[in-house]
């Protein structure tokens, strides 16, 4: 199978692969190098310091990390039940015509660009929150979580639906033969069987939610401060992505501030890769 003399095709393939590998390696190396410079200077303990004032050389990551965690948690708390319920309803209860429509609408939802979600959040959600909860502006972790839940809903729902439909028909027939009613079928047969697929859908959604920038950046308020107390989700806060997005334009190239942003990027990349990697590892082998 191996080519003995270099042909046009082989050289094209090698050139392409090497270009891809080289450019991606260069990008990741720059990321690693800059972040490494930063951590060398400030040490790993910046991860749990809670003050971020770039002009006074105070770089604490804790507020942004807490913000990211809260926004994701709120998003998951809303999106998992709704997405799962929608998947069950569309694959088990309604007719196949409806199922196709629901699937199409989920694909539409997945296709809406994140900056458009940001626009919706900024001009629909924030005024709502402001008037309903008596907030100052509405910019809050809650708003970020709500918008994020809308964005990760399609991922969870579509993966869960695929997993449910992947359950073997024999299993359903056997369950019916045993006389299980609908609830028992769902809880004892379908959900356990589909769980690996649902789980990897959730992990993928976590990875996507972590990296979402524009929508979160527009609604979260970008205030670098620990929520007071730490479960206060109604005040402006900061996430890792919104910090990069807000400060990327103003940080001078080569400065410590820029390296700190690269460190944010490195943390994000490592956590996101971890989640997408485990989503892949746990995916059922088909």
């Amino acid at each position: 199978m191996l080519m003995l003399r270099p042909s046009m095709l082989a050289s094209f393939v090698w050139l392409g692969c090497l270009t891809a590998a080289f450019s991606i390696a260069v990008l990741l190396w720059f990321l690693w190098d800059n972040a490494w410079l930063f951590f060398q200077q400030f040490g790993i303990q910046t991860l749990w310091l809670d003050e971020w004032y770039p002009y006074e050389n105070l770089y604490g990551f804790l507020p942004a990390i807490t913000g990211t965690a809260w926004a994701l948690l709120i998003a998951l708390l809303i999106a998992i039940p709704c997405g799962l319920a929608a998947a069950i309803v569309s694959s088990e209860i309604v007719s196949s015509t409806w199922q196709a429509w629901i699937r199409l609408s989920m694909e539409v939802l997945a296709g809406i660009p994140s900056v458009v979600y940001g626009l919706i959040g900024l001009w629909l959600l924030l005024p709502l929150l402001q008037s309903q909860l008596n907030l100052l502006t509405g910019h809050s972790l809650l708003a970020a979580g709500l918008i994020l839940s809308l964005m990760i809903l399609p991922t969870i729902m579509l993966m869960a639906q695929d997993a449910l439909q992947g359950v073997a028909p024999e299993q359903r027939e056997a369950a019916k033969l045993l006389g299980l009613n609908w609830n028992q079928q769902l809880l004892r047969i379908l959900l356990p069987q589909a769980w690996p697929g649902i789980r990897s859908g959730i992990l993928l959604a976590v990875g996507r939610g972590l990296g979402e920038t524009m929508a979160v950046m527009l609604v979260v308020g970008s205030l670098d401060r620990m929520p007071q107390p730490f479960y206060n989700i109604l005040e402006p806060a900061q996430t890792l992505t919104s910090r990069i997005g807000r400060e990327m334009g103003e940080a001078a190239f080569g400065s410590l501030h820029f390296s700190a942003l690269m460190a944010c990027g490195l943390i994000l990349a490592i956590v996101a890769v971890f989640f997408s990697f485990s989503a892949q590892k746990m995916r059922p082998s088909t």
Partner: protein, 272 residues
Amino acid sequence: MKIILIMFAIPAILLPAACVLYIFYQAMPALNLSLIFGSDISVVGVNSIGQSILPQITGSLLLMALACFIALPIAFSIALFHAFWASQNHKKLLMTLLQMLQGIPPIVYGLCGLIVFVHTLQWGISLLTGSVILAIIILPLLSNSLIHAFARIPREQTDAALSLGLSKLNVIIRIWLPASWSNILTGLLLSMARALSETAPILFTATVFSGITWPDSIFSPVTSLQTHIFYLAQEGSNIQAIHTAWASAATLLLLVLCFSLMAGYLRRYDTT
């Protein structure tokens, strides 16, 4: 149980339609022909935000097209490497790597691109920088779909062609491309939709707010629909700007849906 499930599912089922309808409802005041053909091109300045978003549309499409133009040959070569040269272990490694690259958030690519292309290579904030970054972002998606497209061709066909003495190049041109064009097109359309909807990575690497109708060269910055929405959304006091933002959002949504729904249609057409 069923009732509870349906109650939980109702928001998820109704929200997509509600979102799309709300966007178009808000866009109504500004959605008209002058949005595209109006001569009053957006200029810098707080109160003089004009009507036409034609430069933004062309900028977005240019970025997308150039990104696909760069990514497509590279993705093809990765897919061909996977099909012809890689051993089982290599294949596994390659798929894992692609999955990992897809997991990295786009903003991180944007940040790296800012350092490497804008500062180190001195390309500046330009069309080229933006499209190379977008190309890197869509590369995993595109190569994944090409790999799957080639993997779905029956093994026997390839073997038969090879045993007839066709070279690999001929196998690809005569057998693989005709057999898998719809899958390839699906992957390409999805990547185009993705490139069109990414905002964060090009915000500081490729685009300016306004003043560019048609970039002079690939080294000049462009305006894009995505970043236009972002800038206008924050013009809180200017009602005209908000209307234009919604109209731009509706236009962008239409463009993206055009690509992604076409991809969905092709996929269904292919499986039946």
